[in-house]
């Protein structure tokens, strides 16, 4: 014990007398701290946590590999260790003292760095301080152990320099310590999974951004701990006191033994990609952590109110403040400024009626159409168009939930997704006809994923409960008898009642697709939150509209789909050649669709859709009457249907409304605040208000005068991140 203390004391004294130690441990990280902080504009938000993580890892790498490694070789080379050999001391106290002194030397850097980040850049002190220091200590000791083992397996100073650099350089550049892993090419991302430093980077970022604890990072903690123990133990075994004692070149394999926890972990992670996902998410957190100020804009708040000139401050993904009239002091806010004079800021649009699994057109026959890809591409397209939230009212359940998770975590970038999953309908009812031609096995699976066909009261209740347990955000049922010659079995009203009641118990919003007045009347009778489509065939009478208004039932007219069906026979040229459509829909899909619609083959296909395509004028009339009756209007596009493209469709829907006679402000409110209310998320989205998610759409011009201005998109901000829109489609 006496020897351990004495050695630590001497190690520390020597270290503090060594200019190189002072430089590399203290000055070097400080320089990097300020350089990175300056480059990354750390004063403008959460970037500072990122900078601190980077500099911490760089410091640990240097202190561990060079501090422990080079020094051990130096002492051997200079014949200093020889003298220890003739005393009763064993290698253990020397190695342990080196570990402890390295730790003591490094701790002031950590405290200094956190202090600077706190006082200069306003970084919040992480909630998990114990985990932070735990991970720093563990990382440092593991890297000192790696340094020691590297020193143990080389014979000369040059040898150690080469070997240590061989470890230092990749860890510096491929671990995320200097550049985020997410911008590296795929092969480098795989390599990074084998580097211990990568896990420190994500570990620190997790602690800073997500309040993670050591136990969240248990696999990395375990690997670091094992490396530390193995490294210390094996370097004690390989310890050499004199430069004359040479070691076999094959001894370098011991390094692999010490790193074997990370070889295993890397192998697992390269396969599972969990860690890469985490890195992706953390990189997203960083993008969302900035401070933005949009000023000089006309602000459409969402609830109807308009601020003619104002500013919005965004911090940490939320709306921090809304300023009316006078501009705030931008210098003091330390924000990135977006000048928005002449522009209008809206809450991110919400489309309450989409089917992500279908692409709105035809793919090349024989081309492999993957619903997963189509769904995530659709969400990217929505975000591109400033639609920050969509509600899927009929899509494969498992895929939808999976996609929602990866969007919510930040792994994927796309519009937020509210999931209904399967649609409740009758056997042989609307919604089942799409699977008719399928082979039996596939058909069963597809039905299981996309529809529920309850046959009894109990089954109906049970199915709602199960879906709620699976995590759906709402339920949609279909009441549709069709129109000759296309007829459907209709869901029994008694079953509809059970579904509606169970939704109330489970407190999830319930909407129903309706085709005619009877459907609407039945739906209103059982009680629900939203009527989808209303009717294109019949004029909705005042009684029903007043019930809707009185009961707060939302009305989603989906004019776009009926317009699209009416234009199928003309080849859809008019709808497919709109700028925003061409920006988001794959050119091939558009071309194939146009070609098909003009071909002979389409005639039979179009025959089936004909009954739906007759009622645009009726739909418009019903909408205007509903508006006048004070019904809460919500905007849905039914995108995914033929010629109704994911993203642009909701903009076009609003145009149809305004052309029908709805005031632009009312239309915009239907696609923002009202939609959020239907989703029961109006405390988070649909409004430009303090504390709301910073999901925003900035357009060039004033959509309150010309609704088509919503398509002239200047910026899309999603959860505080300025979206690089074209890049949305580059996601794997």
């Amino acid at each position: 014990m006496k020897a351990y203390l004495a050695l630590v004391k001497v190690d520390l004294k020597l270290a503090f007398r060594d200019k190189a130690v002072i430089f590399f441990n203290y000055l070097f990280p400080l320089v990097f701290f300020f350089v990175f902080a300056g480059l990354m504009k750390a004063e403008r938000g959460g970037t500072i946590s990122f900078v601190v993580s980077m500099v911490l890892v760089m410091g640990i790498l240097g202190n561990g590999l060079f501090g422990a490694g080079i020094r051990a070789v130096q002492e051997r080379e200079m014949n200093i260790l020889r003298r220890f050999k003739v005393t009763p001391i064993s290698p253990a106290p020397l190695l342990v003292a080196s570990m402890i002194s390295g730790w003591v030397i490094y701790m002031p850097v950590v405290i200094l760095m956190l202090g600077l980040a706190y006082f200069v850049y306003g970084m919040p002190i992480p909630a998990r301080l114990f985990s932070l220091f735990g991970l720093i200590s563990l990382g440092l000791l593991a890297f000192r152990a790696i340094g020691l083992i590297l020193a143990s397996v080389v014979n000369t100073m040059q040898g150690s320099q080469v070997l240590i650099q061989l470890f230092y350089m990749p860890m510096l550049f491929l671990s995320g310590a200097t550049f985020p892993i997410t911008i590296l090419p795929p092969w480098a991302q795989i390599i990074s999974q084998f580097l211990p430093a990568s896990y420190l980077v994500t570990g620190f970022q997790g602690i800073f951004f997500r309040n993670e604890s050591l136990s969240t990072n248990w696999s990395a903690v375990l690997a670091l701990l094992t490396t530390m123990i193995l490294g210390t133990f094996i370097s004690a075994q390989l310890f050499r006191w004199e430069k004359e004692e040479k070691i076999q070149p094959a001894a370098k394999l011991w390094v692999l033994v010490v790193l074997c926890p990370f070889i295993l972990l890397g192998g697992y992670q390269a396969h599972s990609r969990e860690h890469l996902r985490k890195a992706q998410i953390l990189a997203r957190d960083l993008e969302r952590s900035g401070t933005l100020l949009i000023r000089g804009a006309r602000i459409f708040v969402g609830s109807g109110k308009v601020i003619e000139s104002g500013a919005v401050l965004i911090k940490g993904g939320k709306i921090e403040e809304v300023f009316e009239g006078t501009d705030p002091d931008t210098k003091a806010l330390k924000a990135t400024v977006i000048e928005a004079s002449g522009k209008t800021l809206l809450p991110g649009l919400i489309d309450v009626h989409v089917h992500l699994g279908v692409p709105g057109g035809f793919n090349e026959p024989g081309e492999n159409h993957s619903p997963q890809e189509a769904m995530s591409r659709a969400l990217a397209a929505y975000l591109y168009c400033g639609v920050t939230t969509v509600k899927s009212v009929g899509d494969p359940l498992d895929e939808s939930l999976k996609l929602r998770t990866s969007i919510n975590s930040g792994e994927r970038l796309g519009a937020s997704l509210f999931v209904c999953g399967p649609m409740f309908t009758a056997e042989g009812g609307h919604g089942t006809e799409f699977f008719e031609g399928m082979p039996e096995v596939m058909k069963i699976m597809a039905l299981q994923q996309t529809v529920r066909l309850p046959k009894s009261v109990n089954e109906a209740r049970q199915q709602v409960r199960e879906l709620k347990a699976a995590g759906v955000d709402g339920i949609k049922a279909i009441l549709e008898s069709g129109q000759a010659p296309v007829l459907f079995n209709r869901l029994d009203v008694s079953l509809l009642q059970e579904i509606a009641d169970e939704c109330r118990i489970q407190s999830i919003p319930f909407v129903a697709h309706t085709g005619n007045l009877q459907d609407i009347a039945d739906a209103l009778k059982v009680g629900l939150n939203g009527v989808e489509h209303g009717s294109f065939r019949e004029r909705i009478p005042d009684e029903l509209l007043s019930i809707m208004a009185k009961n707060g039932v939302a009305y989603d007219p989906t004019l776009g789909v009926v317009e699209a069906f009416s234009k199928l026979s003309s080849g859809g040229e008019e709808l497919l050649s709109r700028s925003l459509v061409e920006q988001v829909a794959p050119a091939k899909l558009i071309q194939t669709t146009k070609t098909f619609l003009l071909s002979e083959k389409s005639i039979k296909f179009l025959e089936r859709l004909k009954p739906f395509g007759m009622g645009l004028e009726q739909g418009k009339e019903n909408l205007v009457r509903a508006y006048r009756a004070g019904v809460m209007l919500v905007a849905g596009s039914d995108a995914g249907n033929l010629l109704v493209m994911h993203g642009p469709a909701i903009h076009h829907e609003l145009q149809l409304w305004v052309w029908a006679g709805i005031p632009p402000g009312i239309a915009l409110q239907a696609a923002t605040y009202n939609a959020a209310r239907l989703l029961r998320a109006d405390n988070r989205i649909g409004l430009i208000g303090k504390g709301h998610d910073a999901d925003l759409l900035l357009v060039d011009g004033n959509p309150l005068q010309d609704i088509s201005i919503t398509e002239r998109i200047s910026e899309v901000i999603y959860k505080g991140e300025r979206i690089n829109r074209p890049k949305l489609f580059e996601q794997e």
Partner: protein
């Protein structure tokens, strides 16, 4: 892993190699300085590095309070022998006991009790003298007072100096101080005055003589014949892994006492005729200019008279006459055919 492999030939006292396949439980030997046995005992010591036999059956004993010198050219097996005794190197065969410990199996206990001064000790340039003493003091189970030790070695004034700022002599005194920290009864001094200026060397010699007065047992390896002559009670000359001769410097010299060297310088060249075989004379040589005659004689006085007589008969004047006793170095060269300082 280069963990020291246990020597396959480790043997204990009381067990000879011949009997030795049978595994004998090593007897734990507690050292007892009161026991009159020699503190250092070496019997039939052997050690090979691969095919090279570095030590080929060395045997010696060093008595308590004795200063014993090991002389030999580089590669003679000196360092290997000493390192085996210090417990740094396993031996292949033979019996070794230092203070009653077997260095092969009890090196930790042994190292706690011996003092070692290596030929080249080095420390970080920024280590202070007093810190070195404190640090090394922490390694031993018992230590002497550091202040007293530094004062004795005239390092007290230098205690706050960095190692890098010390002179060669001061560094060597520090090395000696560290060797004395645990108040060892047995000291190994490897070339303690190598590379020092004469004054510093004199100081080191004084110190070693003091240690000898304190009855410490000292094994000294050296290249300096004068050092061995001046400091050692006994000397062993090692060459090619074997002890060639051993004894007090005087005894060793006396082995070749019969070979006193007579050198006669003439004032003009000797005639070109045969030099007579004088009584007791051996190795008669004449210099190239035929002015100097050198003769080794076992009976110098008689030979000298005859030589002078013969030169006089040649009608040649004597310029000078030298009569030299052989030094330890001459002995060494004669025995090994090598110089010590190559």
């Amino acid at each position: 892993m280069s963990v020291r492999p246990p020597s396959r030939f480790v043997t204990q006292f009381g067990e000879t190699k011949g009997i030795g396949r049978r595994k004998v439980q090593p007897e734990i030997q507690t050292p007892n300085p009161e026991v009159s046995q020699a503190p250092i005992q070496v019997k039939s010591l052997t050690k090979s590095y691969g095919n090279f036999q570095a030590v080929k059956g060395i045997e010696f004993e060093i008595q308590a309070g004795e200063v014993f010198g090991l002389l030999g050219p580089n590669g003679a097996g000196k360092t290997t022998t000493v390192e085996i005794l210090e417990g740094l190197r396993p031996r292949d065969g033979g019996l070794v006991s230092v203070l009653g410990f077997d260095p092969g199996t009890q090196s930790k206990q042994l190292k706690d009790r011996i003092g070692v001064c290596l030929q080249s000790t080095n420390f970080s340039a920024k280590l202070k003298v007093v810190e070195a003493v404190e640090m090394f003091g922490s390694f031993y189970s018992r230590t002497v007072n550091g202040e007293g030790l530094l004062k004795r070695l005239q390092l007290w004034e230098k205690r706050d100096q960095f190692y890098g700022q010390l002179s060669g002599g001061q560094k060597q005194r520090l090395a000696l101080a560290l060797a004395l920290l645990n108040d060892p009864q047995v000291l190994f001094l490897d070339e303690p005055s190598a590379g020092l200026d004469p004054r510093a060397r004199y100081e080191i010699h004084e110190l070693i003589q003091n240690l000898r007065r304190e009855q410490r047992t000292i094994l000294l390896t050296t290249h300096y014949i004068e050092e061995a002559e001046k400091l050692c009670d006994r000397v062993a000359i090692i060459d090619e892994g074997k002890i060639i001769t051993m004894g007090s410097p005087r005894e060793i010299q006396s082995h070749t006492l019969g070979h006193s060297i007579i050198e006669i310088h003439c004032d003009q060249p000797l005639p070109h005729k045969e030099i007579p075989a004088w009584n007791e004379a051996a190795k008669t040589t004449v210099s190239a200019d035929r002015k100097v005659v050198t003769v080794h004689s076992s009976h110098a006085a008689r030979t000298l008279v005859e030589m002078v007589k013969w030169v006089d008969q040649q009608n040649i004047g004597l310029a000078d006459v030298h009569l030299k006793k052989p030094s330890l170095e001459d002995v060494f060269i004669e025995l090994t055919g090598k110089s010590l300082r190559e």
